[in-house]
C-alpha cells in the first residue's frame, strides 16, 4: 500500500484551515465579547452577550456539521 500524498495534503490543509478558523476564531470572538462586557460604553453589554452567544452557536454548528454533516448536508 503506497502513501497517497495528495489526499494527505488536502486533509492536513483542511484540518489546519478549519482549526485556525474555529480553534483560533472562537477564542478571539469570546475575548472580544468578554472585553465588551467589562467596558462601560453604551451598548457594549449587548454586544458582549451577542458575541458570547455567537461563540455558543459556532461551537454547536461545528458539532452538527462534523457529526451529522454527511446525513444532513452530504459533506
Amino acid at each position: 500500500m503506497g502513501i497517497d500524498f495528495g489526499a494527505l495534503a488536502i486533509a492536513i490543509a483542511s484540518v489546519l484551515g478549519v482549526g485556525l478558523l474555529l480553534g483560533a476564531g472562537i477564542p478571539l470572538i469570546y475575548g472580544v465579547g468578554i472585553r465588551s462586557l467589562e467596558s462601560e460604553r453604551p451598548g457594549s453589554t449587548l454586544l458582549g452577550r451577542s458575541l458570547l452567544g455567537l461563540c455558543v452557536l459556532l461551537a454547536l454548528a461545528g458539532i452538527v456539521v462534523i457529526v451529522f454533516g454527511k446525513q444532513l448536508f452530504g459533506i
Partner: protein, 415 residues
C-alpha cells in the same frame, strides 16, 4: 466452546483497554480547566465522563476503520486472529498503565496500533503489516498533530491576549471560566466520538473472527453501550498523574490560555475525525498546551517535561509492539485457550504491580493542582544558571576577579 472462551477473554480485555484509554486521556480535555481552577477536579472528571458517554453514541465512523490499512489479517483463522487482537490489546494496556505511572501523556491509539502491529509481526512476519498504511495513518499524523495544534493554539492565545490585554484580573478569571468549561466539554465530546469507537472496532473484529457477526453487519447495540460505559468509567477514575503533568508540568496555564488550548484541540480533533485523518487526541492536546504557552511572554514552557513526553511518543509504537509480540510468543507456548489465559494473567499481574508502585507517590484529586516541583537536578542547574547570570553582571568573564583584586592591591600599595 474454546473459541467462545477466547472471545469472552478478548471482549473483557478490550473493555479494560477502553477503561485505561478513558482514564489516561481525561487529562486531554480537563487538565487546563483543573489547572486554572475553572473546575474542581472531581466535577471536572464527572463532566468529562458524561460527555464521553454521550460522544460514544454520536458516531461509529472511526470504529469501521480500526486496523484497516495497517495490518493485513486476511486468511488468518478465527482463533489466531482473536489471539493477535488479545496480544495487541495487552501491549496497549501495559504501555498505557506504564506511561500513566510516569505521568506521561501518550497516545492510547498509537499504543493499540503498536500492539496490533507487534502481535501481527510475531504471528505472520513483517509481511503482515502494511507499512505504507502505517506511515500514512500513524507516523505522518503523529509528526503533524502537535505542530498543527501548537500553531492553532499559538494564534488563538496570541489574539486573545492582544484583545484582552487591559482586562482586570477578576474579569479575566470570571469571564474565561465559562469559556474554558465550554471548550473542555467540547473536547470531551470529541474524545468520546473518537476514542470509544476504537474499542468498538476491536470487539467487532473479534466477533467477526469468531463467526458471531457478518463483516457487513451493523455495530451491535450492546457493544456500543459497554464501550461507552467503560470509557466513561475510566474517565471518571481520572488519570490524575497525567492531568498534573499536562495542567501544571509543561507550563503554568492562565484562564485565557487554557480556553484557547481547549478550543484549538476540540476543533482539530472534530475536524480530523470528520475527514478521516487519524490524529491522536493526546498529541493534539499536548501540542495545544505547548503552543498556547509559547504565545505568552510571562510564562515559560518547561522543555525538560516536553522532552520526556516526546521520547514517550517516539517509543510508544515500538514498545507496545514489542510487548504485543512477546505476549504472542508466550501464548504460542501454551496453545490458543491456555495462551489467552496466561497472557491475561500476566497482564493483571503487571497492572497490579504498577498500581502498587503508584501508591508510593500518590497523586489524586486532593493534590493534582499543587505547584509543579522540578527535579533536584534541574532545579540545581537553574540556580547555577541564575547565579552565573548575576555573577557575569557584576564581574564579566573577560575580566577575572583575581586580577582585579591584585590590581587594586597594587594600586593600594603604591598609594
Amino acid at each position: 466452546m474454546q473459541e467462545l472462551a477466547i472471545l469472552a477473554i478478548v471482549v473483557i480485555v478490550a473493555l479494560a483497554f477502553d477503561f485505561t484509554n478513558g482514564f489516561h486521556d481525561t487529562a486531554n480535555a480537563m487538565a487546563p480547566s483543573v489547572a486554572t481552577g475553572a473546575l474542581k477536579p472531581k466535577p471536572a472528571v464527572a463532566l468529562s465522563a458524561v460527555l464521553n458517554l454521550v460522544g460514544a453514541f454520536l458516531s461509529i465512523e472511526v470504529a469501521k476503520t480500526v486496523g484497516s490499512g495497517i495490518v493485513d489479517l486476511t486468511g488468518v483463522d478465527g482463533e489466531s486472529l482473536m489471539l493477535i487482537v488479545l496480544c495487541g490489546l495487552t501491549g496497549a494496556i501495559v504501555w498505557n498503565v506504564l506511561t500513566w505511572l510516569f505521568g506521561l501523556p501518550s497516545s492510547s491509539s498509537h499504543a493499540l496500533f503498536g500492539g496490533l502491529i507487534g502481535a501481527t509481526i510475531a504471528a505472520l512476519g513483517v509481511t503482515g503489516v502494511l507499512w505504507g498504511g502505517v506511515a500514512q495513518k500513524i507516523l505522518i499524523p503523529a509528526l503533524l498533530a502537535p505542530v498543527i495544534a501548537g500553531l492553532v493554539a499559538f494564534c488563538g492565545t496570541w489574539l486573545v491576549q492582544r484583545v484582552t490585554a487591559n482586562l482586570s484580573e477578576r474579569g479575566e478569571k470570571r469571564g474565561f471560566r465559562m469559556g474554558q468549561i465550554g471548550a473542555a466539554s467540547l473536547m470531551s465530546l470529541a474524545h468520546g466520538t473518537n476514542d470509544a469507537q476504537k474499542t468498538m472496532g476491536v470487539i467487532f473484529l473479534a466477533l467477526v473472527a469468531h463467526g458471531s457477526l457478518d463483516p457487513d453487519a451493523d455495530m451491535p447495540l450492546w457493544v456500543r453501550v459497554v464501550c461507552a460505559v467503560a470509557i466513561a468509567a475510566g474517565t471518571y477514575m481520572g488519570g490524575w498523574r497525567v492531568i498534573r503533568t499536562l495542567g501544571k508540568g509543561i507550563v503554568d496555564i492562565s484562564p485565557r490560555q487554557g480556553m484557547s488550548a481547549d478550543f484549538s484541540s476540540a476543533s482539530i480533533i472534530l475536524t480530523s475525525s470528520h475527514l478521516g485523518l487519524p490524529l491522536s487526541t493526546t498529541h493534539v492536546a499536548s501540542g495545544s498546551v505547548i503552543g498556547s504557552g509559547l504565545a505568552r511572554t510571562d510564562a515559560k514552557v518547561r522543555w525538560s517535561v516536553a522532552r520526556r513526553m516526546l521520547i514517550a511518543w517516539l517509543i510508544t509504537l515500538p514498545a507496545s509492539g514489542a510487548i504485543g509480540a512477546l505476549c504472542f510468543v508466550i501464548a504460542g507456548l501454551f496453545g490458543h485457550l491456555w495462551g489467552s489465559i496466561v497472557v491475561t494473567a500476566l497482564l493483571i499481574a503487571a497492572c497490579a504491580a504498577m498500581w502498587l508502585r503508584s501508591r508510593m507517590s500518590h497523586v489524586g484529586s486532593h493534590n493534582v493542582t499543587e505547584e509543579w516541583e522540578q527535579p533536584k537536578k534541574e532545579r540545581k542547574r537553574e540556580i547555577d544558571r541564575e547565579l552565573s547570570a548575576v555573577a557575569s553582571h557584576v564581574a564579566p568573564v573577560s575580566r577575572p576577579r583575581k586580577r582585579k583584586k591584585r590590581k587594586h592591591r597594587r594600586e593600594g600599595g603604591t598609594a
